[in-house]
Assembly symmetry: C2
Homo-oligomer: 445 residues x 2
Amino acid sequence: MSATAELVEYVVKSRLSDIPSDVRHEAKRALVNIVGCALGGAREPAVDIAIASLGRFAGPPTARVLGRAERYDPLFAALLNGVSSHVHDFDDTTPSNYIHASSPVASALFAYASENKVSGPDFLHAFILGFEVISRIGAATYPAHYAAGWHSTGSIGVFGAGVAIGRLLGLQTEAMTHAVSLSATQSAGLREMFGSMGKAFHPGRSAQSGYMAALLAQNGFTGGKFPLESPRGFAAVQAGTYDLARITDRLGETFELRFNAYKPFPCGIVVHPTIDAAIQLREAHGFVADDVEKVELRVAHLVKDLCNKKVISTGLEGKFSIYHAAALGLGRGQANIPDFTDEAANDPAMRRLRDLTEAVGDDSVSDDAVVITVWLKDGRKVGMKLDQSLGNLERPLSDAQLEAKFRAQSGVIAPAQADAAIAACWGIEEMADLSTLIDHCVPKG
Amino acid sequence: MSATAELVEYVVKSRLSDIPSDVRHEAKRALVNIVGCALGGAREPAVDIAIASLGRFAGPPTARVLGRAERYDPLFAALLNGVSSHVHDFDDTTPSNYIHASSPVASALFAYASENKVSGPDFLHAFILGFEVISRIGAATYPAHYAAGWHSTGSIGVFGAGVAIGRLLGLQTEAMTHAVSLSATQSAGLREMFGSMGKAFHPGRSAQSGYMAALLAQNGFTGGKFPLESPRGFAAVQAGTYDLARITDRLGETFELRFNAYKPFPCGIVVHPTIDAAIQLREAHGFVADDVEKVELRVAHLVKDLCNKKVISTGLEGKFSIYHAAALGLGRGQANIPDFTDEAANDPAMRRLRDLTEAVGDDSVSDDAVVITVWLKDGRKVGMKLDQSLGNLERPLSDAQLEAKFRAQSGVIAPAQADAAIAACWGIEEMADLSTLIDHCVPKG
C-alpha cells in the first residue's frame, strides 16, 4: 500500500472513540489557543486589507469569520481565519518541525462549521485528523523541506485542511485520495515572506486551498493517484530527502498533538529562549535598557538563519529578529503583542539594543536553547544558558495559562463571550452544533 | 538592481508602442489560439465539476466566462478560463521550456476585462508583459524547475497573471513588487497531476492566484522584497540550478512570444513528432491498424519520462502517452479532440497498438524528434526520422491554420460569432473596449 493510500484509509476509517482521551484534551487545548489567536488577530491590517481587496468577490454570506462581524462565503472565511490566527505568530507550533498545524486546519473547519451543522465530536475528530496528517507529512519531509525555504505551515498545512474538510464531507477512499492530490498540487508558501503579511497569508490560503480540494474531489475532479510518493509528487519535488515511512508508522497509535507547543510570546518560536533568558537576566540583576553596553547571543545556526534581521522597521519583521527578541527581554522585560508593533520596532531604545547585540551561530547550542551574555555599563558581565523556554514541551503552558492567553487576546468580543467560548472549547465533545462555539467568537451587535 | 526590481521596473514602465509589430502580431496569434482552446474546453467535465463544486461560493456575477453562459465573480471566472483553455492540452507552448504561458495570463485578463472596461491595446500590452515575465522566469529556471517535477504552467504561470493584472490595475513599483512576491508564494502545481484534471486546474488556479496577488498588493498587503532571488525565494527554493540573468537580459529588446508554438494536436507537445511521423508513415505505405505487428519509437529520455503511460483508461491519460500517440497516427491517421476521449483510450484497436509499441530513450534523439520503425504483418519494415513536427517553430501553423483550429473548437458559439471573435483578435489594437471580443465568445440566448 502506498503512503497516500494508507493515510487516506486511516482518515476515512478513523473513529473518535479510538483516539485516547489525553490526545482529545490536547486538541481542546489547541482549539482554545487557536481561537484566541484568531480573535487577537482579527482586526490586524492584514485581515482588513484582505477584506478590502477580496471581500467584494466573496460569494453568498453563509459563513462567519472568527472575531469579525462580517459574513462571507466559507472559502473566503477560511482564508480570513487563517490570516488572523497566524498574523501575530502566536499560534501553536510543533517544535520538531516548526509547523503551525492548527491554523490551516481550524481555519477551514470553523468556516465549514459556520455554514454546515457539525457536531462538536465530529469537528474535534476532523481537527485531530487534519493536525495528524500535517504533522506526519511534516515529520517525513523535515528538515529538508523547511530548510529548502518552504514555510511548511502553508505548504503542508494544505493537506490538513483538505483531509479535515474531506472527512466532514464524508469523502470515501477514491475521493479522499483526490482531495489529498488536489491539496498537494496547491502546496505553496515561501519563507521569503517571513517578516511580511505574506507569512500569515500562508495558513489562510492553505485553509482555502485544502477546502477547495475537498469540494472538487467530492464532485469527481481528479488528481494523480500517488501525490505524496510518486517521482513527481510532493515529497520528491518539495523535499530533497524524506522518509515516507514516517507518514504511516504507527498511524492511529501515536499522535502528534502530544508534541504540540503553545507560545507565551507572539513571535517566531525559535526566538523564545532568547526572550525568556533576557527577561530572567533582567529580573535577576535589576538593570534597565540604558544600562546595557553589549550583548552576545549564541544560538543554533538554524535560529540565526531564520531570525537574522538586525535592521527592522515593522513589527512583523520584529517577530523574526533575534536582536529584537533580546532587546525586548533586556529593555522591556516583556514580549507581548504591543511589543511587536511598528512603533515598538522603531523605539530608539529597542534599536540601540538591537544594534549592540551580536548573534553567533554555534553548533553546540540546540534549536531550543540560547547562551546569552550581557556586558553592563557598570562593568558587570552577566549571562546564562537556557535550554527550553516557557511554552516549550518541557515547560508547557497550563490549561489556566492558555485560558489567560485567550482572554488577553479577546478584546474584539465581550468578556462573558470569552468565558463562554473557552468553556465551549473544553466542552466540545458534548456540543450538538458547533455554531454554539462560533456564536461566542463573533462580536455582538 | 535585483532581478525582481528590474523586472518590476520594466513591467511598470513598458509602453505598447515600444513593442515591435511582429511581437504584437504574434500576441494576436496567441490570443486567437487560446480563445479557441477556451471555447473548445468550456463544456468539458473538468469545467462542469469545478462549477458544480465551487460555483455556489462565487461572488457577485460581474464577470463572464469564455464559452459559457454563466456569470461569476472575476476570480472564479479566471479559474474556469484557465481550466477550459488547457484541458485539451491544445494551447500554445514555448518549446524551450514547455510552458503554456497564454492560459494563465489570458484567463485572468479576460475575467478582469469582462468586469472592467479595458481597451484592446491595454489588454494586448498586459498580455504581452505577462507572457514575457513567465517565459523569462521559465528560461531562468529551466530545466531544473521542470525536471524537479513542477508543472511550470502553474508554478510560473502565476507570475504572469500577477503582473498582467497588476499592470491593468496600474500598480507602481512598490505594489507591483508585492504582487510578484504574493504570486511567488502561491507558486504551485505538480507534474504528478499529468493525465488527470489536476493538470488543467494549474493554469486556472494560477490565473486566480496571480489575480488575487495583484488585488492584495494594490491595497497594501505585503510580501518579501526579493521573491525571485533571495535565498528563500522562488528560484532557490523551486529550482536546483538557475540563471537569474536570463530574467533581465535584454529585457524590452527580445521577446519570448517569437518562440511560441501552436499545436496541431490536442495533447502533450513532446508526443507531436510521434503522431506526425506515424501519420506520414501510414499515408506513405498505405497500411491500417490491423496490419501493424510491432512498433519501436526512439525518443529523448525526457519525452519517455514524461509520456511513458502504456496502460491507460482515460482520454486525459492518452494525452501523455507516447504509445497512444503512435497508435492514433498509425491506426487512425489523425489525432483530434475525439481521439483523446475515454472511449478512444479504450478502443481495442488502440489498446492493441499501444501494447505492441516499445519506446526507447535515446540520447541521440532531440526532444522535438522521433525515430519510428514499424514492422508490418506482411513482412515489410518501414520507418523514418522526424525532426520537427507540424506546429513546432520551424513548421509553424499559419494564421489561416490558427483560424481553422479556432473554428473547429468553437461549437459552443454560433459560426458567425466565431468569425467575429477571430476578426476581433486580429483587430484588438483598434478595439475601444474588450467586451466587444468577449461578447462574441459567450453563447447567445
